[in-house]
Symmetry: C2
């Protein structure tokens, strides 16, 4: 086994430059929502070169559209396929899904970027550009590990199912489509940017919009109106109270260093159009965190029921009910049991590479892992080389050395998880 | 005297149709800010016909620009003059200013209007259109009264100084310019739309904008940021508390039926751009009511000092201070002493016309009266035929009978106030 490791490490070292080049090419394709095609083409080419079995398809069928976890305002997916590429095992080992998303978020204000967001510029060991960290860097690490294993002259027993999906940033329709196509496994790794921390649990989230009605009047006779802003402050207080209450219930030690494990963020309020008028509408928008083991619908119920209490206790709101909408993105929470062997294999591999214990935490954001585990029955751990803080931000970048190290850890994990077929440990081809 | 009254009433009755036509023509000219010229031309023509001494000038000199009460973001006044027209008295009587503004507010959403806002359409005794009530109708009533007195064949001792000013809706630069040009008198009537109530006192007002800083963060780790919305709720509470405190001090019986004599309206709040981000800025805008006898600067100080207290007690705000701006329009409060003879003359005339007591209240909004009294030393009473509720709204209109009745009351008041010269009570010319 030591010999195999040595060969794999040598192989990984050998393919570092081509992996950096691969990531550069991926970053240079602006694969925002609806424009994933050309970046997927690069993925497909790479998978062909490695010799994986390819499955390329455009998502979007009735099964997907009617699934309870489907949430998307995208009307068509034509031309921008999902890609799955399998390194078939010889049988008898545990299978694994390696899931990365190809979509990136928009660049925001270009003035904040030092380099062109699609330059893939490399400087002092860091590769810059939109998607470098979230999460084309993670995807490159997956492909690096798979390439090393596939080309170093050994055979794994379990299947390695690499996925490059669309739509993660908008709620996970790509991964959901892969689940519905039948892709399930004994475990999954999602290399979202965790700063090389290991996240066996992920906070889910969903967006809410609360519309509060008032009655307009002139500011000089404001008592003739009802201020939507005043009523909105009742809602804000209720949301703050609900957040406190929900978080006292979180006792998981993975959250012990986190001040608010499942926050209710109030992200936006808009009310009124004129300083001297009483505002007749207020709109509050925010993000509700969902605990790893919680059902999204029960979290929704809880929020709606507390709003209902506010409404019942306020004569105006009772007559002019609040409107609650769950809109935009939603990310399922995820949770891996504490002693799951996948967590063990990954942690062990981490220690072998870094000679120290990994940091194991719960993530403060959702990933496609919630869909994989809840609807695909696939246990998930999130672990990747990207820099959390630069994701979605200007000057997003990744440390290439971290990418290489994460590929080593993932390769070792696959060895342990999928197992090498005896007799399959031949010399490098 | 009875004979004179009869003649005047007959004259007023005779000129009803032409007054309605005058108002129609005035309404048909859209005299929003910067477009007052053509409506003023109609006023000028009318004043010439009556035989008044005209003073027409473009406002805007260093004296105006540097006056403490000047507030305007208008860069030039060329082509849109102020108009003053004097019915010269023979001497020895009390003088009076009759002040109306020619500017109107924009029409807002055209879809809410049944008729074209500049139609001047008359139906069932009501004249419709922007400015009909606020306050071209009041101005028409003034001219109707002056025309009757000037043409009925009598001479008044005191000067009658009719003013048609610009800029009332934007803070009163037109009336301020008239004061600075030397126009003062022993009393003034401003026929703003009071529903024929008499307002010897007027609430002043000014606009504030408070900018609250926070620190952005991802909603999933919202504890890493500081929510500008949360900090804004502290400000809202402080403003509510200040309003309560300020209003307990108001003991004037004119306010006894008014729930909040000097409201602090919170008209607008804007914060945040994304549901799952912690908002880093909140902007609150509103209107602060100022008591009739209060100095605007002392009201400002009071608000700023309460914000300062909030700031001192909050470590974050102490480090990241609030920004307070006094922006946009400001309307000086006004106050006439309780037993002022102008109030007596007007009330008496009201009773003569309507055979009942007038309603005397304090107005919930400012007028140009604050400038006339504070900076022109001219005692002011506000009284006019317009319908308060339709001012600034779609389908603004006025009841023509109210306009005619208010002209009767104003004409009788002028008789009492300016006095008729003995021997000047000749037959109608």
């Amino acid at each position: 086994m030591e010999k195999i490791q040595e060969r794999i490490f040598a192989r990984l070292k050998h393919i570092r430059p081509r992996t950096a080049r691969l990531l550069q090419k991926l970053v240079q394709e602006n694969s925002t929502r609806g424009n994933e095609s050309s970046a997927q083409a690069i993925i497909i080419e790479k998978c062909r070169q490695i010799g994986l079995e390819l499955d390329i398809w455009e998502i979007g069928d009735e099964k997907l559209y009617h699934h309870e976890a489907y949430c998307s305002d995208r009307s068509q997916y034509e031309g921008n396929p999902n890609v799955v590429a399998v390194l078939k095992g010889t049988g008898g080992g545990k299978s694994i899904i390696l899931n990365g998303h190809i979509d990136v978020v928009p660049v925001g204000d270009l003035n904040n970027w030092v380099h062109d967001p699609f330059s893939g510029h490399i400087e002092k060991g860091r590769l810059y550009g939109r998607g470098s960290t979230d999460m084309k860097g993670g995807t490159a690490a997956l492909l690096m590990a798979v390439e090393a294993l596939a080309t170093v002259g050994l055979k794994l027993k379990g299947d390695v199912i690499f996925q490059s999906v669309i739509e993660e940033e908008s709620g996970g329709a790509g991964t959901l489509a892969a689940v519905l196509r039948g892709y399930r496994a004994d475990g999954a790794i999602i290399p979202e940017p965790t700063n090389l921390k290991i996240f066996p649990k992920q906070q889910g989230s969903m967006w809410y919009r609360i519309t509060v009605k008032g009655r307009a009047a002139h500011g000089g006779t404001r008592y003739e109106g009802v201020s939507a802003i005043e009523k909105a402050t009742l809602i804000i207080q209720a949301l703050q109270e609900l957040e406190r209450e929900r978080n006292t219930r979180i006792t998981d030690p993975l959250y012990q260093s986190i001040p608010i494990p499942i926050p209710i963020n109030i992200g936006k309020i808009q009310s009124g159009e004129w300083p001297s008028s009483v505002p007749d509408t207020a709109i509050i928008e925010g993000r509700m965190g969902v605990a790893p083991d919680e059902e999204m619908l029960s979290a929704q119920d809880e929020l709606e029921s507390i709003l209902n209490t506010v409404q019942e206790n306020d004569p105006w709101l009772k007559e002019n009910p609040l409107k609650v909408e769950w809109f935009g993105g939603r990310w399922q929470p995820g949770s891996l049991e504490e002693n799951h062997p996948l967590l063990g294999a990954l942690s062990e591999s981490y220690k072998e590479v870094f000679k120290e214990e990994p940091v194991i935490e719960a993530s403060p954001w959702g990933t496609d892992g919630g869909i994989l585990s809840r609807y695909g029955g696939t246990p998930v751990v999130v672990f990747g080389p990207g820099i959390t803080e630069t994701a979605h931000d200007a000057n997003e970048h990744i440390i290439l050395e971290d990418l290489y190290k994460s590929a080593e850890i993932i390769a070792l994990t696959l060895l342990k998880w999928c197992e090498v077929e005896s007799g399959g440990e031949g010399e490098q081809e």
